[in-house]
Symmetry: C2
Subunit: 398 residues, 2 copies
């Protein structure tokens, strides 16, 4: 250990920190900031990967949560087989970072086909999805006129909450035939049981996981029976992935938010607050003593407008307040927010000690309702480990 | 007119468009995109500036709404006297673009003072605010130890909704004395009647505007009576600015969202849907025919999670659907949203014609609940005028 390292002691080494600031301790990070607790994140990644491996399926993480190469590299290192993206920009960014096996999990429209082909022409193994005969025919038309064979998967609706073909309907087979006859590669079926977000008991979650699995497998078997080979059977959401008792007939699982977890997942029951790896670092900037309010510099622009816990068992307002080291301060939440002001108070009572409990300058961490939405508000993460902190850039937009 | 221009006809000229895409018509813009109708924006800017001039006050627009130099240049061209910012990053970006008269309208904390001083050292006429004796003393300590005189304004609470000193309290005078005795420049008082967002009648809005004005003027007069000269009396919010009957004693008004307006402002009653200059351009990507749903590629990541109209007279879901030219399609809203999927349907009935009414590939504009939140989701605007379209970059983060 050289003298410079020695002097730092157990503070955070500034290695790899952006030039904008040199950080020697968490309390020196400009606020608001999106903090990743890397130990928690790695534990979340490992828990999900181990579970998927033991259930005999591959894991294709949804990278819309982090939109960060450094995070996704950890997921791949742990064993992920490829990635799921929600935008073609994500596909472009992660392909540029070396990821080739990519599923674009939003219904393809004709106007985006040229962008998808451009990626495939560069060597990206991009798979696209359709959920109607019209969409399939549009892909076929494009593929033929550009002499390009696209790999197309079908979205299946297993819970009625969003898009997808009915697993027991005729259009499913019609789409399969249209793709095959049109010379495209039919790659498989995929579904997302987003309705799992409305549940909060292990029994209900297991039942939803089984519904998601069995209906997606049904779709695959009907296609196979119609002489349409269906190699991939892809299901997933974080709640169902962490609840499924078995995944027979499934080849891969997609899940996203598990990498960070959040208060919505805590309410659903698939994570505890100690698993939440993303928080917003904030500073107390003032008080309204009579009201028991401390004002912090994390408003809704930093936390996002997501109020996902509003209709759940426990409403965390705009987030759960923790101390600077990430320990929950029970009873204190961001009860309200303006664009750049958060209002920190006890939800249950007006405490008279707010100015002493949280003096101006106090640094806190706020756990978010919804990690995907909160992370999206920041150009970069500050990833904090036991011995060092780094800035990890993330991207946004389309 | 040369041959190239002639060929274009009345399509949008690609002048100044980003290199990522050449746009010849709105329907060729990759979706989702944040569209600015520049004619509506310029009308909004002109309406507000004219009103402020006729009321005898200066206008200091809040640039947190657009975070875009091209937009703010139009506000300054129309007569704005300076700008209001919600983050020091905004101050840095707009100062770099040539704006010097800047009010940072969020309570100052010690940890941000060095960043503020750095801006002032470069020639930025940055004013900061405090709302407590503790915060004022911290500024004085910093100023003294750095031999730097900061210009400090006081935030006054005129509606109980957020931060600020009581206009009739003792601490107001104490803060003024602390700043004067500490050698800082005391610049004035400022307030923001955010409670105006909860109103929706001209009478209630006029009353709130008068409350905001009279209490802020009261604070200024009490300070003056205590031999603390108070040069600036700054009030404002878009609803009160557009409702005030007179502004006696006020020197300037701050307002932000008026530049774009949004559905929250429509519900409050200070704008019509024809005034909303910001929309999200989106493409229909699929259907759930039985449910009367069209799925579009603008989910909550594009619209933001802001559900500001939820508690208002008319709930627009995640936004009001318009045709590609911006004409409202009555009764159709984004009734729900996933991250990259919006669900477009009639709020009042399940229409059987959804696939014919909105075929896959249909391009639409969605008016947002809250322009500040929606705009923040995009790295750039596409500004569409009568004869041309341009991309205008915007920034985010802290």
């Amino acid at each position: 250990m050289d003298r410079r390292q020695k002097k730092r002691g157990n503070r955070y080494a500034p290695t790899n920190f952006s030039k904008r600031f040199k950080i020697m301790a968490i309390t020196e990070i400009p606020t608001p900031a999106a903090l990743i607790d890397t130990a928690r994140m790695l534990r979340n990644i490992n828990t999900m990967q181990t579970r998927m491996t033991s259930l005999g399926v591959k894991l294709r993480p949804h990278v819309k949560t982090s939109k960060c190469v450094a995070v996704v590299q950890q997921q791949i290192r742990a064993g992920a087989s490829g990635i799921t993206v929600s935008t073609l920009k994500e596909a472009e960014q992660f392909f540029a970072a070396g990821v080739t096996n990519i599923l674009y999990a939003v219904g393809m429209v004709p106007s985006k086909l040229a962008q998808a082909k451009a990626l495939r022409d560069k060597g990206c193994d991009l798979k696209i999805i359709v959920d109607s005969l019209d969409a399939a025919n549009a892909v076929v038309d494009f593929g033929r006129s550009h002499a390009h064979v696209l790999e197309v998967w079908m979205e299946v609706d297993t819970d009625g909450h969003r898009a997808g073909l009915k697993p027991d309907g005729d259009e499913l087979l019609g789409v399969g035939r249209a793709l095959r006859d049109g010379g495209m590669t039919f790659g498989g079926v995929m579904t997302h049981a987003g309705a799992s977000y409305e549940l909060n008991t292990p029994e209900a979650l297991q039942a939803m996981a089984e519904q998601e699995r069995s209906l997606c497998v049904l779709a695959a078997e009907r296609l196979r029976a119609a002489a349409l080979p269906c190699a991939n059977v892809s299901v997933g959401s974080t709640p169902t992935a962490l609840s499924a008792e078995h995944l027979e007939g499934v080849t891969e699982v997609r899940a996203g938010v598990y990498v960070f977890h959040d208060l919505v997942m805590v309410n659903i029951g698939v994570a505890s607050t100690d698993d939440v790896a993303l928080s917003v670092l904030t500073t107390v900037i003032g008080h309204q003593k009579d009201k028991g309010w401390a004002l912090v510099d994390a408003g809704w622009m930093a936390m996002s407008r997501d109020r996902g816990t509003q209709k759940q068992t426990r409403d965390y307002g705009y987030g759960q307040v923790c101390d600077v080291d990430g320990r929950v301060i029970d009873g204190y939440t961001l009860t309200s927010a303006n664009q750049e002001h958060g209002i920190l108070s006890r939800a249950d009572e007006v405490g008279g000690d707010i100015t002493h409990r949280f003096p101006v300058g106090t640094v806190l961490r706020i756990l978010p309702n919804h990690a995907c939405a909160t992370a999206a508000q920041f150009p970069e993460y500050v990833a904090v480990g036991a011995t060092r902190a780094e800035t990890w850039p993330r991207f946004y937009g389309w």
